[in-house]
Amino acid sequence: MSLSFLTPEFIIERNDERCIRCQVCVRQCANLAHTYDTEEDWVLADDSKCVNCHRCVTLCPTRALTIRRNPLEFKENANWTATAIREIYKQAETGGILLTGMGNDKPYPVYWDRMLLNASQVTNPSIDPLREPMELKTLLGRKPEVLQIENGKIKEKLPPQLELEIPIMFSAMSFGSISFNACQALAMAASETGTMYNTGEGGFHKDLRKYGKNTIVQVASGRFGVDADYLEAGAAIEIKIGQGAKPGIGGHLPGEKVMAEISQTRMIPVGSDALSPAPHHDIYSIEDLRQLIYSLKEATDYRKPVSVKIAAVHNVAAICSGIARAGADIIAIDGFRGGTGAAPLRIRDNVGIPIEFALAAVDTRLREEGIRSQVSLVCSGGIRNSADIIKAIALGADAVYIGQAALIAIGCHMCQKCYSGKCNWGIATQDPNLVKRLDPEIAAQRLKNLLNAWAHEMKEMLGGMGINAIESLKGNRLMLRGTGLTSRELDILGIKAAGE
């Protein structure tokens, strides 16, 4: 092989005065960036192997380590940036598609940050959530147009609803893309907080089925792990058509990750590649989707809501109208900043649209067609904090999914190397030695803390707006004002400019 032109992205700096040669860094780095020279009693670093995941930095007992961006610079060039050049080197060396993990990291505008929330002043009182009730409970599912009541009783029972104590669910992340311990932590936290964990297309591990009441089981194009028991095991079923990080692209779990547990859970042979085709091969059009939705409803006796998850693409509003009419109870829209365990870099960075626009367009369209009540809308894709969620609900969402934020809560440092399987934090890996670094109980506690913290913040923001039930925020776009947006963008978001 020819000489690699790639220089290290990061520099590992070790303060030798502080280093006590304990070799924690050596043992912790799955990328083998640190080595110990016994003869010289030196700890050495190979910068080229460092992914900047902070594992060694965090665990170093004497705080001897720092990771810096390699200051090495190419000749300044606005077109041929260091990233552009390095990507060509990589492809010239390997002849392959560039892979990446997690969500789009390009500096596209984050529209959440260009919307500001309202608060009550004088003409109506803000409500203090520490003194007054403040309700976040959310029901997801199809609602009838009219509630038929006869002699004080409901004539017809409501279609099945998912009852969430807080309108934040964990996005689909499969056992395979993340470790069992990570799955367990998510499932435990969901169940203890009264929200939902989502299996992704990884099957539903037998040891996690006790959390079924708080689990959405996914049916995706590979149909991994799907059988009658699987459909029954969750509280709802989600058909995954696409995901924001890689619209139009399938998935691939390499055979070396398919070990005994994954093999059993996904119902595929040990060591075989788990390939999820780009489309469902029984869904080539909207009428096919309708058949799958109703097959799943038939199979579960209309006792479970069926969700359809799609990536936010250009024509998302019309597509969602079709999905609603096809019989979905919930539509999940994943924006272009949505995370992933592995995606082709060019797809992740260039395909799809911001969730803020997609959500606004879909909510507006469904209302124009008078069918907004027929479905619940869940949005996702790069949601970072409670304010993003409040803004999403004001734009028209019923609830949100969080994936990356949840993983960050349990240790992810956004190094974006999930596809390597060497996650030093025990999250995106199947290596038993790495997986055991993630204690499910501690991780679940961190997730619960995060949800509780966000719930508190959301209540404060709601109270400030003079609202004491989350449903009064849903689609309440007057609570938003835009800043730094063009009038076209304001129109699409359906909001006014600040000062208007």
């Binding site: 009730p133 409970k137 009838p144 009219v146 004491n468 449903e471």
Partner: protein, 366 residues
């Protein structure tokens, strides 16, 4: 930027409300209601006052009484063309007024007693009420300089820019007799003083007077829009009126259920209910989540059958009720009741979300 009328811009306002009914249906003049609302002078700022009265047109009780404001004669002419195309008009006349120094810039104030034209009604395929609603919406949305003040049978709304007691004097309410009166004094925070923006807001024989600023406004409005309601005024009162119309008239929910949807019990309370009630409440909140009126409000809703008063579910606005013989009184302040009824049989402050329903005798529901 030019100062914008209501409908172009949303204007929050605080207010006073008062209402009274004789449950036997006996008519009484407007003096008491004016006295009651006048006592709460401090709760208004002279930028809007109004009244609704039921039983005032016994001689035309089967006809729709359409009260109109016109900014200019041109508007009157175009609307009259429209009305003539859609209605048989039995009587068209100026609404009598008295000169009051503080009431200025009055529009042309007119009323029509009319019934939908048979042929138009059949052509539209709508029932009579829905036909009238559509016509009202069309005038308010599409006819510049024209505004429908009220459109019910044997009732009318009288409103203006000014303090409510002056408005009552202006419209000579002492000369009308009704079995239900409701009143409103307005304290808008910013208004160019448009007569149409004053309360009560009406639709058919529904009238609403309201105090508060609802924080769920856009959620409610956008939901109503799905059912064909155009909220042209951008006022809370309009939204509340349409919401009630949708739930009660169109969706045919029982009165208590419609009111529950608008001021739903808290989830904590629902959890403590028995299974059947819990399921009912849960369904209401699930289906009618967007109908929940959030934020401070107290309203008095009037119809030919009676009045209903309602507070927001955590009682962020004052509301007091009283009973004396055949009369039921409701007002923002107890003093506004005692000024006209010093010794009521019973006085109480209704709980948040707990409706006060006062109907004519022999009537089952509003």
């Amino acid at each position: 930027m030019m100062l914008q009328y209501e409908g172009k811009v949303r204007i929050p306002s605080g207010c006073a409300i008062s209402g009274m009914i004789n449950k036997k249906g006996q008519l009484f003049p407007g003096n008491d209601i004016v006295k009651s609302i006048a006592l709460m002078h401090e709760r208004s700022n002279g930028l809007g006052g109004g009244f609704a009265a039921y039983g005032i047109y016994p001689e035309y009780k089967d006809l729709y009484a359409i009260h109109m404001f016109y900014d200019h004669n041109g508007a009157k002419e175009t609307v009259e063309l429209f009305l003539n195309r859609h209605f048989n008009i039995k009587l068209s006349e100026k609404i009598p007024t008295r000169k009051v120094s503080s009431i200025k810039d009055a529009p042309i104030i007119w009323r029509y007693f009319a019934l939908p034209r048979e042929d138009k009604l059949i052509e539209s395929g709508l029932d009579e009420n829905e036909f009238v609603v559509r016509c009202v919406m069309q005038i308010n949305a599409n006819f510049e300089g024209a505004f429908v003040v009220s459109s019910g049978k044997n009732m009318g709304a009288f409103k203006a820019v000014g303090f409510p007691e002056d408005v009552g004097d202006f419209y000579m309410l002492d000369t009308y007799k009704a079995y239900i009166w409701t009143a409103h004094g307005r304290f808008p925070t910013n208004t160019p003083g448009w007569w149409g923006g004053a309360h009560p807001f009406t639709l058919l024989d529904w009238s609403v007077v309201h105090n508060g600023e609802i924080s769920s406004y856009d959620a409610n409005k956008r939901w109503l829009k799905m059912y064909g309601y155009k909220c042209t005024l951008q006022t809370d009162t309009e939204v509340i009126t349409y919401m009630f119309d949708l739930l009660y008239r169109k969706h045919r929910l029982p009165l208590e259920i419609a009111l529950t949807a608008m001021a739903a019990p808290l989830w904590d309370e629902i959890e403590r209910m028995d299974r059947k009630k819990r399921e009912l409440m849960k369904s209401i909140r699930a289906v009618y989540g967007s109908a929940l009126i959030n934020g401070p409000f107290s309203i008095i809703l009037g119809s030919k059958n009676g009045i209903v008063a309602l507070n927001d579910r955590i009682k962020l606005r004052s509301l007091v009720a009283a009973v004396k013989d055949d009369f039921v009184y409701i007002a923002s302040e107890e003093s506004a009741i005692r000024v006209i009824c010093p010794k009521p049989d019973r006085v109480w402050a209704p709980m948040g979300g707990e409706p006060v329903i006062a109907l004519l005798e022999g009537v089952e529901s509003i």
